[in-house]
């Protein structure tokens, strides 16, 4: 009786082998279907990133460094600094994504990043950016930024001009006052 049962047990893998198909031998021919929430390689929307470096600060492994990148929005990101991720250290925890105030950093379904050297897996914004401006758009935005800056500078200048004038009048007033109150002047 026992023996018959055991033979049944040995038959079990045969039965299951017929039912189960390959589980592990899919990659790289067939990519597994990944869920929407997958935390893979980062995706950066360079058009909205404000370069605040919140992501770099929260990263437990300090693998984010802020680097220069051309195709962002100079209006919002004045210094044009964007995150660069060192995938040699990244553990895909997603804290940086949660911390981003404008939700421009996401994690996508892409997971392959092998490289021959250590430097190959340090990926800059050029690799991460899924959305970016074209060179022309950037030029336009830069022109816009310059214009705004120039306007601001002009406004500042005007203000500065006004200020000495005001100060002048103030000084004048003070003088007058001092003149009016010789006592104080004497004290000074």
């Amino acid at each position: 009786m026992l023996k018959r049962k055991m033979i049944k047990n040995f038959g079990w893998p045969l039965k299951t082998a017929m039912r189960e198909i390959e589980v592990t031998r899919l990659y790289p021919e067939v990519m597994m279907e990944l869920p929407e929430n997958e935390r893979g390689i980062h995706e950066l929307d360079a058009t909205t990133c404000i370069g605040c470096a919140s992501c770099a600060r929260v990263c437990p492994n300090s693998c984010i460094e802020m680097v220069h990148f051309k195709y962002g929005n100079p209006l919002k990101n004045k210094k044009m600094q964007f995150p660069q991720v060192d995938y040699g250290r990244c553990m895909f925890c997603g804290l940086c994504v949660d911390e981003c105030p404008v939700e421009c950093l996401k994690m996508g379904k892409k997971v392959t990043m092998a490289g021959w050297e250590r430097e190959d897996i340090i990926k800059g914004p050029d690799f991460l950016a899924t959305k970016r401006f074209s060179a022309k758009e950037v030029a336009d935005l830069e022109a816009e930024a310059k214009r705004i800056a120039a306007e601001k500078a002009a406004a500042k200048k005007a203000a500065a001009k006004e200020k000495p004038a005001k100060e002048g009048t103030a000084a004048g007033n003070a003088k007058k006052k001092a003149d009016a109150k010789p006592k104080e002047g004497g004290a000074a």
Partner: protein, 570 residues
């Protein structure tokens, strides 16, 4: 039913003046500072009169600003009542020393050794204060004290120096700076005590005995730890354990990370139980913050933690079956295939396969995807049928039964005494489950049984795990029916700084009782995090369990504990 204030008044009336300070946090939590002279008597009183038969661990804390150290003894009961007493004993920072409980509670041994090597707190009357997790060279530098600068000394950048010994071996030394030697800040000479090798070789009494090494790299061990057995013929006379091969110092690392960043480190203590570790840490911090978790988030946490329990039990059992290898049909592969489905389910919510970093203070990171309930409805019945099939297979396999039944039997009395946890404890017939003892989240509303075994042998331990999977499936099904709509995070922003306070939070890890003791000093980083892991407790019980068994059974016994040395070492 006993509650915390009754316990406190009982101690106060039995030992007037012994309680220096106390706080009754809730019915289940008592915090008390006990006079260091009376701690042994108080513990005896608790155990004998008030049913505190579960010594759950102890933690060291270095209060450098107050110039004192603290040892916190965590006492609980195996089901007689639900109070956890956190008894603190203070000692000055110069020559810190407290009374050892190791002669009262067998399992205090390891906890005290760890505190000694990390903080330098001496335990008077401890039977063998030897290094546990640290290497012998590090003793004397007390790395978890707050004024520890790094080893080798990071302030000087001194590195190890290679020296060739007279026998021709290369040794590495970390020389102290002359200034330190002069100031007496370092131990120039290491304290003399026998090493692990010497200690075990002392036990060889005759020529017919020898020591057999299993590990640190061995097919039996799920991670590196060294199990040496002293054998005479085919019988094991004594077992010796050496752990600390993957000691990562996570508790210390967490003191240097912000509260939020700490979550990712809890993942890495034990990756098959990362969700319950997340839960434990976040729960403790929520307690200090006084945060209420939205109901939907609570359900999501429960669902994912139960899924994680299923996958952990599947891999644990599968791994174990490869070890006993007597079963010709190798269910390992099939369990891994089944586990793959559970992992995909979890991944569809968290976005990661093993290290989830999913639970957040006051909520969870993501909501369940729309098709989650549907996917569960197709996967869970399949897993259920498979588990029933496995149970049937084992029940009718004569080889399996011969290898497993009545092997490594742990009676209920012994299991309680040695402080073993989780399915290994329940297999002995002690219904001790944190989901009932210290209910969190929505567990009190859910209907489930605590699975217990009868004999406490290896077969029972495996059987308990498999039946627990069925119970977890039942829990998830209930949750999916009941889960309400609503927010998954609190409305208010979580502050970067956590107000000063402390909390002890327990969850039922797949391996048993996981507790975290978190202290905040009001800063943006934890002041101290103590992890009381379940496998630490289980691992400690291995040597006495192995005494007198056949060598061939060692693997069956050690494997049936479903170990995770990574969590024991932290």
């Amino acid at each position: 039913m006993t509650n915390a204030s009754e316990v406190l008044s009982s101690i106060q009336s039995a030992f007037p003046g012994a309680v220096l300070d106390s706080r009754v946090e809730s019915d289940r939590r008592l915090w008390a500072t006990i006079d260091s002279k009376k701690i042994l008597d108080v513990c005896k009183h608790l155990t004998n009169k008030l049913n505190f038969d579960h010594y759950s661990g102890s933690a060291g804390v270095d209060w450098i600003a107050r110039n004192e150290m603290e040892v916190v003894e965590i006492m609980a009961s195996h089901g007689a009542h639900k109070v956890v007493a956190m008894l603190k004993v203070k000692t000055p920072r110069e020559n810190p020393s407290v009374k050892s409980l190791a002669n009262l509670y067998w399992n205090a041994n390891w906890y005290e050794r760890e505190i000694w090597e990390m903080f330098g707190i001496n335990f008077e009357g401890h039977p063998g204060l030897y290094p546990l997790l640290l290497s012998d060279q590090l003793i004397g530098s007390w790395p978890w004290r707050k004024d520890f600068k790094g080893y080798p000394d990071l302030t000087t950048g001194e590195r190890a120096v290679a020296i060739t010994t007279p026998e021709g071996y290369t040794e590495y030394r970390f020389p102290p700076t002359p200034a330190e030697v002069e100031a007496g800040a370092v131990v120039a000479e290491r304290p003399k005590y026998p090493t692990f090798r010497e200690r075990e070789e002392r036990e060889i009494k005759s020529d017919s005995e020898m020591i057999m090494h299993l590990g640190p790299q061995h097919a039996m061990v799920p991670g590196p730890f060294l199990l040496d057995v002293l054998v005479e013929g085919e019988r094991v006379k004594k077992g010796f354990l050496d752990v600390g091969y993957i000691h990562k110092g996570i508790e210390k690392i967490m003191e240097n990370r912000t509260w939020l960043q700490g979550i990712v480190y809890t993942d890495r203590m034990c990756y098959v139980a990362s969700l319950s570790n997340n839960e434990c840490y976040c729960g403790a911090v929520e307690k200090i913050l006084g945060l209420e978790v939205p109901e939907r988030a609570q359900y999501i946490r429960v669902i994912l933690e139960e899924l994680s329990r299923i996958q952990s039990h599947l891999i644990g059992t599968g791994e174990f079956l490869t070890l006993v290898a007597g079963v010709g049909y190798a269910p390992w592969q099939y369990m891994i295939i089944d586990r793959e489905r559970i992992i995909s389910l979890i991944e569809s919510v968290t976005g990661a396969r093993l290290t989830h970093t999913f639970v957040r203070f006051g909520g969870v990171r993501n909501d369940l995807p729309d098709d989650f309930a549907e996917k569960c409805k197709s996967t869970l019945p399949y897993i259920k049928s498979r588990i029933n099939e496995f149970i049937e297979l084992f029940a009718q396999d004569a080889i399996y039964q011969k290898r497993m039944e009545n092997v490594g039997v742990l009676s209920a009395e012994d299991a309680k005494r040695v402080g073993i946890a989780g399915p290994a404890l329940r297999a002995s017939g002690v219904a001790y489950d944190m989901r009932v003892e210290d209910p969190i989240l929505v567990y009190p509303d859910l209907d489930f049984k605590v699975i217990v075994g009868t004999k406490g042998d290896c077969a029972d331990r495996v059987d308990c795990r498999l039946r627990e999977i069925l119970e977890s499936i039942y829990i998830i099904e209930q949750c999916l029916d009941r889960i309400p709509a609503g927010p998954i995070k609190p409305e208010a922003k979580i502050p970067k700084k956590v107000p000063a306070g402390e909390a002890y939070y327990r969850v039922e890890d797949p391996r048993g009782e996981m507790g975290m003791y978190v202290i905040s000093d009001g800063g943006d980083k934890p002041y101290r995090v103590k992890v009381r892991g379940p496998f630490y407790a289980t691992l400690q019980t291995l040597p006495p369990l192995l005494e007198g068994v056949y060598i061939a059974d060692v693997v069956a016994i050690a494997g049936s504990m479903d170990g995770c040395p990574s969590e024991a070492d932290r």
